[in-house]
Amino acid sequence: DAGITQSPRYKITETGRQVTLMCHQTWSHSYMFWYRQDLGHGLRLIYYSAAADITDKGEVPDGYVVSRSKTENFPLTLESATRSQTSVYFCASRSGTSGGYEQYFGPGTRLTVT
């Protein structure tokens, strides 16, 4: 399917477990982003990537790890999940070339840490 997809869509995990959220885009966009969305905070940037093997921290990176070995994939790992990481996670991608810098968002992953 064309576009940007996230998996799983829903995940329940226990405190201390490692969990990986997947993000895949079919446009070959150079930029990819991970956000979390919590009530009262809007969208906050966790990490972003400008290209394969290039990643950088956003506003709230603590407790998260990212990698980008292929342009189309940008997984987000919670190494030891905590209850404060219960949130909705959105992945997005964006072309890095001129002509428009709009981000395309995935459908989100609702993560609950018990």
Binding site: R44, L45, A50, Q103, G108
Partner: protein, 113 residues
């Protein structure tokens, strides 16, 4: 980071024009201003983007004053389906220092009959 401030909520009626203003006092020279719309249980969706003056597309207009410290999203003749949360994003476009993105907390627009 360019912090943005928006009204928390706005109410309107069908057929009216709605203007939502976003403050971004610390906007940098290379930053663009983008507005997104989000419905419940969905990811945000692009509405419009601009750098200065006025931009118009088929769904909205974006007004940016000369000092670029604020911007106003204008939705003409809203309908019930425009009920959503609207986010203002100041987006740094460029290389080198990377892209620093700051979403506002969003404005919940409620449109009634």
């Amino acid at each position: 980071l360019a912090k943005t401030t928006q009204p928390i909520s706005m109410d309107s009626y069908e057929g009216q024009e709605v203007n939502i203003t976003c403050s971004h006092n610390n906007i940098a020279t290379n930053d663009y201003i983008t507005w997104y719309q989000q419905f419940p249980s969905q990811g945000p969706r692009f509405i419009i983007q601009g750098y200065k003056t006025k931009v118009t597309n088929e769904v909205a207009s974006l007004f940016i004053p000369a000092d670029r410290k604020s911007s106003t999203l204008s939705l003409p003749r809203v309908s019930l389906s425009d009920t959503a949360v609207y986010y203002c994003l100041v987006e740094g476009i460029g290389t080198g220092g990377g892209n620093k993105l700051t979403f506002g907390t969003g404005t919940q627009l409620k449109v009634e009959l």
